[in-house]
Symmetry: C2
Subunit: 340 residues, 2 copies
């Protein structure tokens, strides 16, 4: 059995979306077992009348909920009885549970993951690796997208290994093309950090480093993984998502502005639907925190059940395909080389 | 007379686009005078048969062209006879010339501007401030977009003053709303640099600081100026432009994929045209390097005549509205406060 803890509160559509997402994941994977944390009555109500294997579901009562207003360190200390901290506690204490999913407050989740769960062997700092759709129908990962602001070239090397192993084992991307986010594609671009990182990544045989990339090419399909510091990654991710949303909103408004355009919009309905679906983050799961000794997946606050099923699957596939062991093996090897 | 040097080579559509752009600018401003640098014969040919005031045009012959392949420092040293370096030389030596425009290699232009032209009083480092269209029909400036990678909070304060003064005097934006690019909108977000900058910007009475902003809101119309380090600014700008281009290309391809969609596309033609025009950088001029003692505007390599007219107008309006004096006055005041 692969056991995953699911924080059932803290998201915009909690607990129903979380519970439904878990039920769907159970249907798709017969060796999956879920531990649902949160208000017991609420969870039971959400489960009521649903068709699922009762032997693979467990509820752990937690009366409190962490919100975005809670200061992360306070949340950890004062809200031990929250759905999120209960899930973290299970991860920490139960060796048979391999990971957790939460759509709750990011700050509290990261703080709890780093302070309470700990890192894989030789990992300096865990990093977020969200997955985005590319315009050619593929995907691209961005690591780190916000967990680490002050970094060195060594961090970027680790982000490349964590992200590559993730893409290989969860998304079946063979030999992922890794690029370094920079201000230009030429070798000599960027500040000292980028120049150092370029050299280090070029020398790292465990990854398929293809060079520098510019943010404009994120969705082009030319790269499978972009490595960057958390500040630049956050800017990259939100600028890309934000522009897509702004443009589609503008288009929609435009279509409603004139009868002629409305008619055109009707003809194009199918195409707009495909495009919306392509860009819908609900299809790509959550932002996985890579490098913690047990997997922590942060679902979008507005995640619906489909997104939460995907989040649970991300934990499931990482465990199934021995993500942790593979990462530790690669990092051991690099560490051994460095000490030689 | 307001005298502007125009580098007529180095762009994709040079020299015709540069010469035509200059002719149009002369038509629009009767007190404008242009000095066209580059191959004399080529420029004369481009001017041939055109209607313009010959008393306000001067040609300075320069047989060489700087390309993207030239190393910036080599370009300055070895290509003194290039159209770009001749324009820089004119700026340096002729007190009556107030600025220059080039669509040539960025690296060489920045290096020459910093090394040969010098800075305004109290300016630490010049910064690029490109202008983007927002979805509500307004504009937003990003300062810095790539000239400075390693910075301090003091730099960001200066970028805010340079950018605000620019928007007020060239684009008639009253009391520009300045935001700090960060990983979240809350006060306490970001690394030490962002926290320091937030405090400093809040205390700066010369600007209208409205707080932190996320990259997703660049095009929202909520802000007039975004201040950031050059690395993040570059990522922000290119991610925004790149996503817009990728999405519109995808839409176009989609429309051509089915007869039904082609028909819909015909109905929506006017709307798509308006959208394309809204996003067309040719309407917004070039990337102005703010903080040099004479204005340097970098036009996009693919600039056509319309974009180059706008670039020349940017120099013209900065001079006309005493940009340099206003910036120096504000910086003097801040410097005096600091020393008190």
């Amino acid at each position: 059995m692969i056991k995953v803890a699911v924080d059932c509160y803290g998201g915009d559509h909690s607990p129903n979306a979380n519970v439904d997402g878990a039920i769907q994941a159970l249907k798709e994977h017969s060796d999956l077992y879920v531990i649902l944390t949160g208000d017991e009555e609420g969870i039971k109500k959400a489960l009521e009348g649903k068709d699922y294997d009762k032997n693979r579901v467990e509820i752990v009562h937690a009366p409190m909920v962490i919100t975005g207003e809670d200061k992360p360190t306070d949340a950890i200390r004062l809200k031990r009885e929250s759905s999120m901290m209960k899930a973290v506690k299970i991860l920490r204490e139960d060796d048979t549970v391999c990971g957790m999913v939460s759509a709750g407050a990011t700050g509290a989740l990261v703080a709890a993951a780093v302070l309470r769960i700990g890192r894989l062997r030789n990992v300096i700092r865990p990093a977020f690796c969200p997955i985005l759709p590319t315009m050619d129908g593929g995907i691209v990962g961005v690591c780190d997208s916000g967990a680490n602001v002050d970094i060195t070239a060594d961090y970027l090397q680790q982000f490349a290994i964590l992200g590559s192993t993730f893409l290989e084992n969860v998304y079946n991307v063979k030999n992922p093309r890794v690029a370094l986010l920079n201000v230009g594609t030429e070798t000599e671009k960027g500040d000292v950090l980028r120049k150092d990182a370029f050299k280090l990544l070029s020398e790292t045989k465990e990854i398929n480093f293809v060079g520098n990339m510019e943010s404009r090419d994120l969705l082009s399909g030319k790269y499978d993984l972009v490595v960057c510091d958390g500040f630049a990654g956050n800017v990259l991710l939100k600028a890309t998502e934000g522009t897509a949303v702004e443009l589609l909103t503008k288009l929609k408004k435009g279509i409603y502005s004139k009868l002629k355009y409305k008619i055109g919009g009707l003809f194009l309905k199918g195409m707009f639907k495909d495009m919306k679906s392509l860009l819908d983050y609900q299809n790509y799961g959550g932002s996985v925190l890579l490098g913690t000794s047990k997997t922590v997946v942060k679902g979008h606050g507005s995640s619906k059940s489909r997104a939460l099923t995907k989040c649970i699957e991300q934990v499931y596939l990482m465990q199934k395909n021995s993500f942790n062991e593979k990462v530790e093996e690669k990092l051991d090897f690099i560490e051994a080389q460095r000490n030689n």
